[in-house]
């Protein structure tokens, strides 16, 4: 590729500026979190006496242990089940191509752009009538439904690309459809399934609207929902609020840094398919 020196330099400078624009807000949060609790510090000034203990205080104040446990349970309730359901339906529409599969698929496409606010009101009454209000099921079950359009479309795209010969060979060997699915296609779909799993984890963990409407107790919400409550409670104690926010966003950042490659790939692909 022909690259002149000045072009390479403008590229580098722009990248660094963009990175700074992304990172500086986080740094400001960190610096503020280190000021004495209860003060109203100004912008970015490194405190004379950094209060690292604020993180401990925020951990207790935000009830972090319980929040992590709760968010973990919700993720466990949503992600594996959504993966199984989405994969099975994607297989039916993308590979088995059952009679009328277009109708079924279209039903899911319909839900792809649906804003959650569009159904939150009846969802509240429905969940209440089911007796699930203020339980984690109030978040888990609706999320399963809300994630289906994307999950099914994502998995269908994968299965539509699988050659028919593969299934024919397996059938000639006497495989039932169930065996064909679990023994042949699911192992081959592992990359698509894990990418979907990453996205679903992220969307569940960060889900806010369902959490604040359907569950009153912050300790039974998702991480994002709990953060909303924490902000309401400590909105005036800026250093503590900043420390708490950092603690609450740390898990996603941590998971992101560990699975960085898979995350970026999944996010980019996810955007293209959605």
């Amino acid at each position: 590729m022909i690259v002149t020196k000045s072009e390479a330099w403008t590229g580098r400078v722009l990248l660094v500026l963009l990175m700074a624009f992304t990172i500086v807000p986080f740094l400001s949060l960190l610096v503020t979190a280190l000021h004495p609790s209860g003060t109203y510090p100004s912008g970015v000034e490194w405190p004379d006496d950094p209060q690292w203990s604020n993180f401990g205080k925020a951990f207790t104040a935000a009830n972090m242990g319980a929040l992590l446990w709760s968010s973990g349970l919700i993720v466990l309730g949503v992600v594996p089940a959504a993966l199984v359901m989405g994969t099975m339906a994607g297989f039916a529409f993308g590979h088995l191509r059952v009679t009328g599969h277009r109708v079924g698929f279209f039903a899911f496409v319909l839900g792809l752009t649906l804003p959650f606010e569009g159904i939150i009101t009846p969802l509240y009454y429905q969940v209440r009538d089911m007796g699930l209000l203020n339980t984690r099921w109030a978040i888990i079950l609706p999320l399963l439904g809300l994630f289906m359009p994307f999950s099914v479309i994502w998995m269908r795209a994968h299965f539509a690309g699988m050659p028919d010969d593969l299934s024919e060979a397996a059938r000639i060997d006497g495989a039932t459809t169930w065996q064909l699915f679990w023994k042949v296609h699911v192992p081959l779909a592992r990359p698509a399934i894990s990418a979907l799993g990453i996205l679903l984890f992220l969307w569940t963990w960060n889900q806010f609207l369902l959490a604040i409407v359907l569950v009153d107790d912050p300790a039974k919400r998702t991480m994002a929902g709990a953060l909303g409550a924490f902000q309401g409670q400590y909105g005036t104690d800026i250093p503590l609020l900043c420390a708490g926010s950092l603690l609450i966003l740390a898990p996603t950042v941590l998971v992101f840094v560990i699975f960085q490659r898979q995350f970026t790939a999944a996010l980019l692909q996810g955007a293209l398919k959605g």
Partner: protein, 317 residues
């Protein structure tokens, strides 16, 4: 050409693959509609119960006046008429459209500029690090983004500090609390969240363009501007379409950022449909009005997003 090399068939060998396929294919591909639908059943069930049913109920509620507890009265299209008559309600829709400028135009426009500039060094180590960093706002909860920026934009926050530093101290203010600046300030938060995603999406699209096209353009004497308009832009149709779709939905259906940073204030200047639905349904207990606005929001998203999808579709795909 291959036939002379094929082994001579004896009577015991299976018939050639071609005839096997013809005879078995229909059965192999369609193991019975019932079985196939059983595979789709769990997904369809949760989707029907927790999405389609509430969606239909929203439509039904939108024709009633109901406080969520007592009896409901059928009012026909009254709730919809009120959306157009009440400045508070249609104002929220207008605000959502203003937010598109910040959530969508800025990230897509800047993203294009930045991506086109850094395309040439996309393989460098710096760019690899940037891939991780620029995704951070996408990974954290939107609520955190709201909290972070509420602090940055406050009277003693970093933004005002920087303005002071460069001698623009006169322009400092509580950005989120000022009638004139609250909406743009909220918009900046959205732009921050979405810029990285757009940049990286567009960069990924650019990496798929055949480098030969750029070489040829260079040899023909095209500069970087010409290159951008003649090669980069036309090849990015699909990716730009995706960026616009995602960001426009983020603007129209915005909730988390605004709930945390301004609650719709001051004086409704940052009120958006998502938040208005929430207040109408769960604070004011006007279920009918909330539902009518919800229906309007769903229709609005479709009306805006479907044509973008059509336009962005690659005619060759």
């Amino acid at each position: 050409m291959a036939s002379p090399l094929a082994p001579v068939r004896t009577g015991t060998e299976p018939p050639p693959a071609e005839s096997v396929r013809r005879r078995r294919a229909p059965r192999a591909r369609r193991p019975g509609a019932l079985l196939g639908w059983l595979f789709a059943a769990p997904a369809l069930l949760v989707y029907a119960v927790f999405v389609l049913r509430p969606l239909l109920l929203t439509l039904q509620y939108s024709f009633y006046q109901w406080n969520g507890i007592g009896a409901s009265t059928f009012v026909g299209l009254d709730n919809y008429r009120r959306i157009f008559a009440d400045p508070e309600l249609y104002g929220s829709i207008l605000n959502a459209f203003k937010l598109i400028v910040f959530f969508s135009f800025i990230p897509v426009f800047l993203g294009l500029l930045v991506a086109a500039t850094i395309r040439r060094i996309a393989q460098s180590r710096l760019a690899v690090v940037a891939r991780t960093v620029l995704f951070l706002p996408q990974v954290i909860p939107l609520v955190s983004a709201g909290i972070i920026w509420t602090w940055l934009l406050s009277t003693k926050g970093l933004v005002n500090q920087l303005l002071d530093l460069v001698g623009l101290g006169g322009t400092t203010r509580a950005w989120l609390g000022d009638f004139d600046t609250a909406l743009p300030a909220v918009g900046i938060i959205g732009a921050w969240v979405l810029l990285g995603l757009c940049t990286l999406l567009l960069l990924a699209g650019m990496s798929k363009i055949d480098p030969g096209q750029y070489e040829a353009a260079r040899i023909d004497g095209a500069g970087s501007v010409r290159e951008f308009f003649s090669i980069t832009l036309p090849n990015l149709r699909a990716e730009i379409g995706v960026c616009i779709t995602l960001t426009v939905i983020a603007a129209l259906a915005s909730f988390d950022i605004i709930y945390i940073s301004t609650q719709g204030g001051p004086g409704g200047t940052t009120m958006v449909p998502g938040l208005q639905i929430f207040y109408l349904a769960f604070s004011e207990r006007r279920i009918g009005a909330a539902s009518a606005l919800a229906v309007a929001l769903v229709v609005l998203v479709l009306v805006v997003v479907v044509p973008i999808q059509r336009l962005a579709k690659d005619p060759n795909a």
